[in-house]
Every structure is written in structure tokens, then in C-alpha cells.
């Protein structure tokens, strides 16, 4: 399945530095992520993992250096081109809507309206079939995290997945499921960047690891 341009959709960071307020969080980060590769960013709380991910998807401008995706600088709008999926530290869901409505809305952000069957299937995969119609306000942290992650089965067109602490609040079953989703994405020549501050079995399979 490797086409000649498969080498082009790479994520590159050149000497990236980040400043939050008046603190220099990190500098000199240079790396290159190719299709089918997974990058794990680890570090203690407050060392800038989330900031690095936000710099990677262009939400936070780098204080120095460049982030390139497909050889072009990241501008924080790459999701519009359906090329990138960013799941932040917060779950990014609306409390008043149910899990199904949230997933429907999140999928619409990819420019598509998936069928109800597809949404149901994604909810089933995420383990939320029983609580699909309940307003998110009444669900637990773990269930909200699952709802946020339920976008992944629907996010087939997005090549680059940037996931901030996706394993937070997930139980063992959820962790298993998420790992299989991530590996599945890699097998489809996708790229995955994720952070975690715990040790997980997935860590051993990461192609690149960045310690902040």
C-alpha cells in the first residue's frame, strides 16, 4: 500500500521552543514522524507535554522553530482539511448533549454527517451503548473520556492523531480498546502522537519517545 508520496505526510519539528507566560518550557525539540509511526511524549506534570502537543497542531505558536506537516507550516486549522485530529486534555464535549448527540456533532466537525448506524457502532466500540442517550452531565469521567475517544473509529480520513492524555480515567477494558484503535490506525499508515504520565503496555510499542 506504500505509494511514492507516502513519505511526504510526515510531521516534522525543527528546533521548537515553547514559552508559556514568562517560562521557557522546553527548547531544541527536533524530530520527524513518518506514516505508521507512533510518538509518545512523557514527562512529569507541568513540564509542557500538553503545550508541545498544542504547538504540534498549531494551536499554540512556537516561540522558536517550525512545525511542518506535509512540508507546510502548521497553522492550527489543519483539522479543516480533515487531515488531523486533535483530542485535548479536556474532553471537548457539551454537557447538555447526550453521548450520541455529542458524537454526531464532533463528527460534523470533520465535515461529514455519518449515518446513525455508524455512530451507534462507534458508541458500542467505545462501550457506551447503554448510556448513549443520557446527557453527558450525568456520566462519569471515564464515560466522558470514552465518548471523546469514540470519535476515533469515525476518524478514518484524519491521518495524524494527536491525543493528549487519552488513557486518563480509562479502566483496563477501555485501555485495551484504545490501544487497539491506535495500532489499527498505524496499520493504515496513520501517525499517532500521544502523551501519558503513567507506564502502559503500549509504551513498548512506540516508535519514538520524547522525554520532557
Amino acid at each position: 500500500m506504500l505509494s511514492p508520496s507516502a513519505a511526504a505526510p510526515a510531521l516534522e519539528l525543527h528546533d521548537v521552543a515553547c514559552i508559556r507566560g514568562s517560562n521557557l518550557l522546553f527548547r531544541g525539540v527536533t524530530l520527524r514522524l513518518l506514516p505508521g509511526q507512533m510518538l509518545r511524549v512523557r514527562g512529569a506534570n507541568g513540564c509542557g507535554k500538553s503545550s508541545l502537543l498544542r504547538v504540534m497542531c498549531g494551536l499554540l505558536p512556537a516561540a522558536h522553530g517550525q512545525v511542518l506537516w506535509h512540508g507546510q507550516p502548521m497553522r492550527g486549522r489543519e483539522g479543516e482539511a480533515s487531515d488531523l485530529l486533535y483530542l485535548g486534555h479536556q474532553h471537548g464535549l457539551r454537557e447538555e448533549l447526550s453521548a450520541r448527540e455529542n458524537l454526531d456533532f464532533a463528527a460534523s466537525l470533520g465535515g461529514e454527517r455519518p449515518s446513525q448506524a455508524a455512530i451507534t457502532q462507534a458508541l458500542v466500540q467505545a462501550g457506551l451503548r447503554a448510556s448513549a442517550e443520557v446527557p453527558l452531565r450525568r456520566l462519569s469521567q471515564g464515560q466522558r473520556r470514552r465518548c471523546a475517544l469514540a470519535r476515533l473509529p469515525l476518524a478514518r480520513r484524519q491521518r495524524l492523531w494527536i491525543l493528549d492524555e487519552p488513557f486518563n480515567a480509562l479502566d483496563a477494558e477501555g485501555t485495551e480498546w484504545l490501544m487497539s484503535e491506535m495500532h489499527g490506525h498505524l496499520r493504515r499508515d496513520g501517525l499517532v502522537v500521544f502523551t501519558s504520565h503513567q507506564s502502559l503496555p503500549i509504551d513498548a510499542t512506540a516508535d519514538l519517545e520524547l522525554a520532557l
Binding site: 521552543a17 514559552i19 507566560g21 521557557l24 518550557l25 522546553f26 527548547r27 531544541g28 525539540v29 527536533t30 524530530l31 509518545r40 516561540a63 522558536h64 513498548a204 512506540a206 516508535d207 519514538l208 519517545e209 520524547l210 522525554a211 520532557l212
Partner: protein
């Protein structure tokens, strides 16, 4: 197979200082030196022009038949009003450059101009009231120009307040800059609507715009005062930018030595 990248050690303060210096390119130290050199000249120019303008206004210009000596306050009122508008335009211009070209020095210039602009606006309002009281018996007149000046003051205050309440300096620069742009586009609309409102309601039978007809001496006096205010505004803005640079760059070596020189000079 995993490879570990470790970013460079970021604890050393000199390291941080060096890293921030390359972020600024070399511009701030040069600008700082330029500003330091310009300020005394601008202040001197302001003093000379101001003296000349006041001489024309208070001595040369003839006494008005209707309003007597009081009208002379227009030599401060009108130039202040002109400057308040001009400074807003300049502020918005610098803010636009800062926004579009990501030039932090331009945003700092906009921030530095704002208080002086607010001062000019306040001066225009204050002298307007001082003029209105002996001439027409009221401290405030709802005429088009005064009302527009009041709204302009609120626009300045909004800019300063917005900038001051956002902690991240970069976001503060950009948000306040966007507000200045929105303001500058709105200002003609506001002026027009206030004019419309004023003529429609036929409220005050007096208007500060109906000043005594301009003799050429009066005009030259006002121009001199306007130029004096302009020179002062430049000096004030440059002084503020210097202070901002020193504050934001407090770890850089050049800023520390500049601060030391300043401290040494101010000691008796």
C-alpha cells in the same frame, strides 16, 4: 525500537537569557538606544513649539469681539482634540502592523501611545468644559464634538483595560490590537451617528464648533500647539516603550546593563 530525545537543559538562567535574546532578533537593544537618544530632542522640540504656540495664542492673536479673552482656550482645546484622533489612528496603525507581521515592538508602540491619547482626549474634554462655563453658562454641552470625544475616551480606556487584564503579554497585545482595529473602523460610524443624533434633536443651541472665525494667526497658533503636542506624544510613547522593554527583557544582559546605567545616572 524506541529512541529517546532529550531537550537541552533549561535550568541555567544565562541559557534562558540567551534563548530569549535570539527570539527577539537584535531589534530591541537597537530600538532602546534609538529611543534613549530621541527622547530629549522630542521633549526639547515640544517645549520650543509649545512656547511659540502659547505666545501666538495668548499674546499675538487678537481679542475676540463676542467672547473676550476666554476663547483663547481653543489653543489648547482644538489641538488636543486633533491629537486625540491622530493618536488613535497611529495606535491602530501600529496595532495592525503588530497583528499582521507579528512584530512585538509595534504592539508595544501601540500600547505606549494609548495613555497619551487618553490624556489628550481628557484634556480636550476638560478645556471644552472650561470654555463652555463662562461662555454659555453650562459645564457640559451635548454637542457633536464633545460627545464624540467622550466616546473616544471610552474607546481608549477599553483598550487599556483589555490589555491590562490579560496576563499573557502576547495575547494581550493581539487582543487589544484587534480591539483598536475594530475601534478605528467604528470611529467614523460613531462620529456620523453622533452628528446625526445632534442635528436631529436640535438640543444645544450652542456648539463648540461654532468657534470665532479663524484668523490666520489663530490657525498658526493652533498648528504650533498641535505640533508641540505631537512631539510630546512621541517622547511619552518612546519613554513607555523603553520601560516596557526593560520590564519584558529583564533577564537579558543588555537590559540589565541599561538598567544599571539608568540607576547610576539618577543618583546625585
Amino acid at each position: 525500537m524506541s529512541t529517546t530525545f532529550k531537550p537541552l537543559d533549561r535550568d541555567a538562567s544565562t541559557d534562558a537569557a540567551r534563548s530569549r535574546r535570539w527570539l527577539w532578533l537584535a531589534a530591541p537593544p537597537r530600538f532602546f538606544a534609538l529611543a534613549t537618544a530621541l527622547i530629549p530632542w522630542c521633549l526639547a522640540l515640544a517645549a520650543v513649539l509649545g512656547a511659540a504656540g502659547l505666545w501666538v495664542g495668548l499674546w499675538l492673536a487678537p481679542t475676540d469681539a463676542q467672547q473676550g479673552e476666554v476663547y483663547r482656550i481653543i489653543f489648547v482645546h482644538v489641538p488636543a482634540a486633533w491629537m486625540s484622533m491622530l493618536i488613535y489612528l497611529a495606535m491602530a496603525g501600529w496595532a495592525a502592523i503588530g497583528l499582521i507581521f507579528q512584530a512585538r515592538l509595534a504592539s508595544m508602540m501601540a500600547r505606549a501611545l494609548a495613555p497619551t491619547g487618553a490624556l489628550m482626549t481628557f484634556l480636550a474634554l476638560f478645556t471644552g468644559a472650561l470654555w463652555g462655563q463662562p461662555t454659555w453658562g453650562t459645564w457640559w454641552v451635548w454637542d457633536a464634538r464633545l460627545t464624540s470625544e467622550l466616546l473616544l475616551l471610552f474607546l481608549y480606556l477599553g483598550f487599556i483595560a483589555l490589555h491590562g487584564s490579560i496576563e499573557d503579554p502576547r495575547r494581550a497585545d493581539r487582543a487589544a490590537g484587534l480591539l483598536a482595529l475594530a475601534g478605528v473602523i467604528n470611529v467614523p460610524i460613531i462620529y456620523f451617528s453622533v452628528q446625526w443624533w445632534n442635528t436631529l434633536h436640535q438640543g444645544a443651541s450652542v456648539s463648540l464648533t461654532r468657534a470665532p472665525s479663524m484668523a490666520s494667526t489663530m490657525l498658526s497658533g493652533m498648528l504650533l500647539m498641535a505640533l508641540a503636542f505631537w512631539a510630546y506624544s512621541i517622547a511619552a510613547a518612546l519613554m513607555r516603550v523603553r520601560a516596557q522593554l526593560l520590564r519584558r527583557e529583564q533577564h537579558a544582559a543588555w537590559a540589565q546593563s541599561a538598567a544599571h546605567t539608568q540607576a547610576r545616572e539618577s543618583q546625585p
